[in-house]
Amino acid sequence: MTTNLNNIGTSLDFFVVVAIALFVIGAFGVLTRKNMIVLLMCIELMLNSVNLLLVTFSKYHGAADPQVFVFFIVVVAAAEATVGLSILIMAYRNRKSIDIELFNKLKD
């Protein structure tokens, strides 16, 4: 994993570390934040960190497959955001709030 990316001069490790850092920031956000729009943004951040990781590995292995995969992820993330925002609007109409901690009626 110490291969340098040609014509950039930055090591591959750098990109992997940045991607993992972005992923962890996103995951931390999902677990701690309360506003549902911020939660959606954190999930998008996680998906985009995966995109960065895939593109890095694409360069490393010299194959184009992961770049195609990135397009799949982008499309699915868009679909997910659409559904997520609709669900959020429905929840807002019922509860007049998008604080996730207010949705705690279902429990044992």
Partner: protein, 445 residues
């Protein structure tokens, strides 16, 4: 492939027909489409596709059996749920369209041969279900369930993708057959990658330790949707878990096996022990489903698809039957177990279905559940006797749970009402009971 195309086109046409606001026509169309898909899938299993083979998607060896199972279950659910879907004439076609699109995803997931199709299958399967869970728009519990399922589900998707990226980084391929030879269990990146992939899959099927969403989501969603989640989604997820574990990542078995022991035992115990104190029927079914995923994961040791198939046949037929009954009984949005008191006594037909389904779930002969569990335990005993003893202990707890429920349903209660059952419900319940009664004979073929 042909079945997939037929289902997709049926769903599209169904959505357009829905504009005419004729629920019967939509139901008729969906039944025709699904039956055609069922026949095409059998043809595929026997001979081959009418089309050339599609890259990354093949229903070879046993996969087509699972595909048949999910198509058949969807057929039962859309017919059994018709009475419920019809109540909202404006949106009847939406239910059918979303369920059929989700079924397409389940088929893609079952037939996937590389991570492209695998990922797309999971997403196509999940996204319509997020919508279906929250389809009772005015109901606050339904929107809460939808939110919980959506956020935890997308979180799991992100984890899955991260795992896929790491596995790709370590091996340089997305293809399952290439992965099985290239996979190196000494590479930490690859191991972390597959752990992430399996974590996401365990989440989708609602197994310990990623089960926390399932009781809440099952409770909040409409009964037919619960039936869909508890059967079709679980079947598709379990099929891909077993084929990934036993074939694709066979090289990593030593690392994964201890984790799966914990997952199996945890699912079995937690599911049944938590189910003991439930008062809500759908929560009970959710916990029963968690335990049953534990049972199904015993097949990971042997990678025996036939056993898994028979087990899932027994479990899903019983679950669909019970959830359809729950939908028949549902009055004023209450699905407490107290409502079931005396139902079997006053309504002999429902009583028989309840009896057969619960006895099969409890693993009492001569029902499908018993033979499937017997085969599972025989296969497991050769490699790990301790696991079999632990499983038997949980089976006893499970049997106690189910028999207590049967006694409740057959209690002499003069307050229990006599219910008139819709002919479609009678049809679906009869098919479910028949499958539970005689499904095990399929082992002989």
């Amino acid at each position: 492939m042909d079945a997939l195309i037929v289902i997709f086109i049926t769903a599209l046409i169904g959505l357009f027909v829905g504009m005419m606001k004729k629920p019967n026509l939509t139901l008729f169309l969906s039944i025709i489409g699904l039956s055609a898909a069922f026949v095409l899938m059998s043809y595929y299993g026997k001979y081959n596709s009418l089309f050339n083979n599609f890259e990354g998607l093949a229903f070879d060896s046993f996969h087509w059996l699972f595909a048949e199972l999910v198509i058949g279950l969807t057929l039962l659910i859309i017919v059994g749920g018709f009475h419920y879907f019809k109540k909202d004439v404006e949106h009847t076609a939406d239910y059918y369209g979303l369920i059929l699109f989700s079924l397409c995803g389940a088929l893609v997931l079952i037939g996937s041969e590389n991570f492209f199709m695998f990922f797309l299958g999971i997403e196509i399967m999940s996204i319509p279900v997020y919508v279906l869970v929250g389809i009772k728009k005015q109901n606050i519990l339904s929107s809460e369930a939808s939110i919980k399922y959506f956020f935890t589900g997308s979180f799991a998707t992100a984890i899955l993708l991260f795992g896929v990226a790491l596995v790709y980084g370590a091996t340089g391929t997305f293809d399952f057959s290439e992965l099985s030879s290239l996979f190196d269990s000494n590479s930490p990146m690859a191991i972390v990658g597959i752990l992430f992939v399996f974590a996401a899959l365990l989440f989708k099927i609602g197994s310990v330790p990623f089960h926390f969403w399932s009781p809440d989501v099952y409770e909040g969603s409409p009964d037919p949707v619960t039936a869909f989640m508890a059967t079709v989604v679980k079947v598709a997820g379990l099929t891909s878990i077993v084929s990934l574990f036993a074939y694709t990542f066979g090289a990593a078995t030593d690392v994964l096996l201890p984790i799966f022991y914990v997952v199996t035992i945890g699912s079995l115990f937690l599911g049944y022990l938590s189910a003991l104190k439930q008062t809500n029927f759908r929560r009970l079914m959710a916990y029963s489903g968690i335990s049953n995923t534990g049972f199904a994961m015993l097949t990971l040791l042997s990678g025996n698809f036939i056993t898994l198939w028979v087990f899932l046949l027994g479990y899903t037929a019983a679950t669909v039957g019970l959830l359809i009954i729950s939908q028949i009984l549902e009055k004023s949005n209450s699905d407490e177990i107290v409502n079931w008191k005396g139902i079997g006594y006053k309504n002999p037909f429902l009583g028989v279905v309840i009896l057969i389904s619960f006895l099969s779930l409890a693993g009492i002969p001569p029902f499908t559940g018993f033979f499937a569990k017997l085969l599972l335990l025989i296969n497991t005993y050769q490699s790990n006797p301790v696991l079999v003893y632990l499983t038997l202990i949980t089976s006893v707890i499970g049997a106690f749970l189910y028999i207590r429920f049967i006694l409740n349903a057959f209690a002499k209660d003069s307050n229990a009402e006599k219910i008139t059952i819709h002919p479609l419900h009678i049809l679906v319940l009869s098919v479910c009971s028949l499958v539970v009664l005689s499904g095990w004979t399929l082992i002989l073929f």
